[in-house]
């Protein structure tokens, strides 16, 4: 029985055959060839397209970031400066306040002292005046006493020397009193 007729038409190799899908040695070769092709393409694209553009983008990103950081730093510096300025202003204000307070205290002190001094002086003056008045008064009393004694003596003399009636007596007394009064007023 001859089954060899099965072979030729089925296994004849047309060179190079067109095909859609097959798994054989040639497929393996083509897989490797395709990998090499795409790897070459990858190398080219990485060198020509991807890396330069990415570098440009990265550079720009870092630059913008740097600018942002710089701006932030400057802002911080400005804020610091402002803070310092405000601190100084505050210090000045406080110092002013201190000085004013001290001056006020000194002024108050001195005024108090002056007032106290004045009061003391006034007191002494008043005291002295009072003492003077007292002394004056005493002296006036003494004078009066002596004057009265004098008057009494004079009156007694008059009583004694003259015969005296009632009228004369009154006249005399009044006369004397008037004299005395005039004396006292004159002094």
């Amino acid at each position: 029985m001859d089954l060899g007729f099965l072979l030729p038409s089925a296994l004849e190799i047309v060179f190079p055959p067109d095909r859609v899908f097959d798994i054989d040695q040639q497929t393996l070769v083509q897989i490797i060839a395709n990998i090499i092709n795409v790897a070459v393409l990858a190398a080219f694209l990485a060198y020509l397209l991807y890396k330069p553009v990415r570098d440009i983008l990265n550079k720009r990103t870092t630059k913008i970031q740097g600018q942002l950081i710089q701006a932030e730093e400057e802002l911080e510096k400005a804020t610091e400066l402002r803070r310092k300025y405000e601190q100084i202003m505050e210090d000045v204000e406080r110092e002013r306040e201190d000085i004013l307070g001290e001056a006020r205290k000194v002024a108050a002190d001195s005024s108090r002292r002056l007032i106290a001094d004045a009061k003391k002086e006034a007191d002494t003056i008043r005291e002295r005046a009072a003492a003077n008045v007292e002394m004056e008064w005493e002296r006036a009393e003494n004078d009066m006493r002596t004057a009265i004694i004098d008057v009494s003596a004079v009156m007694a003399e008059k009583f004694v020397s003259l015969a005296i009636n009632k009228e004369t007596h009154d006249r005399l007394f009044n006369e004397t009193m008037n004299d005395l009064e005039g004396m006292t007023w004159r002094d």
């Binding site: 395709n34 991807y50 720009r60």
Partner: protein
């Protein structure tokens, strides 16, 4: 008329190994050329980039910046050195998926060898980052639920299958979606007479190439990132 099959144009013989120069290879080279020329333009213009972006510079910077922030939220800061690989992956898959719109190009991602190649790199990165950042802990996790009294690592095969399944499902997801779109489009073009295929396919192109393509790109890149950062993350 869209050809479903991957055509072979030439055979390159290097070190005794045949390398077929196929539709995929040619499309890949075209996309590489477009991207590299774009990169050269950016490189030349980037010397004159100004502080305030405008026009072309703005567009390029927007692409890179959006991608970078997306990367940062998905894989975190410590894996950012993989950024250029993911960037390339994203741009390449996106352009590949969209290249289906051009009549002369066959989508390179509708070839399993391409998608599996990309997924294989993801697989290698998963293992490498796992070992790099978690050292022995990563290896230990492969034996994961291993009680102290159990001498046989019962779950090792399951874990290994899980690891191996990742690049396979990742690659077949992209490949399947792209090939499905291609099959649909080729069927439409083959079934209907030419005057019908003048306007109607544009809606299908919009779905299969634009919508599906962009979505699958996003899914592929996001899943790669998630897997890698998941492997590199310190276990809680």
């Amino acid at each position: 008329m869209i050809d479903l099959e991957i055509k072979n144009y030439a055979v390159l013989r290097l070190f005794g190994i045949d390398i077929w120069i196929t539709d995929t290879t040619v499309s890949t080279w075209i996309i590489m050329g477009v991207l590299i020329i774009f990169g050269i333009i950016v490189r030349i213009k980037s010397r004159k980039f100004k502080e305030v972006p405008k026009g072309f510079q703005n567009a390029v910077e927007a692409i890179v910046e959006v991608f970078e922030s997306y990367l940062r939220t998905t894989i975190g800061d410590k894996l950012m050195f993989l950024g250029s690989w993911f960037f390339t992956l994203f741009l390449f898959i996106l352009l590949s998926n969209l290249s289906g719109l051009l009549p002369m190009m066959r989508t390179p991602t509708a070839d399993w060898s391409m998608t599996f190649g990309l997924a294989l790199v993801t697989f290698i990165l998963i293992q490498a980052m796992g070992v790099k950042y978690r050292k022995a802990g990563y290896i230990k996790d492969l034996f994961a639920p291993l009680p102290w009294w159990c001498p046989i690592p019962l779950f090792l095969p399951i874990n290994l299958i899980g690891e191996v399944a990742r690049p396979i499902s990742l690659s077949f997801r992209l490949f399947g979606n792209m090939l499905a779109g291609l099959i649909m489009m080729s069927l439409i073009y083959a079934l209907f007479p030419p005057f019908v295929t003048f306007v109607i396919p544009s809606a299908l192109h919009a779905y299969f190439d634009l919508f599906s393509g962009v979505l699958q790109t996003y899914i592929f890149v996001t899943l790669s990132m998630t897997f890698i950062s998941g492997a590199a993350a310190v276990a809680d």
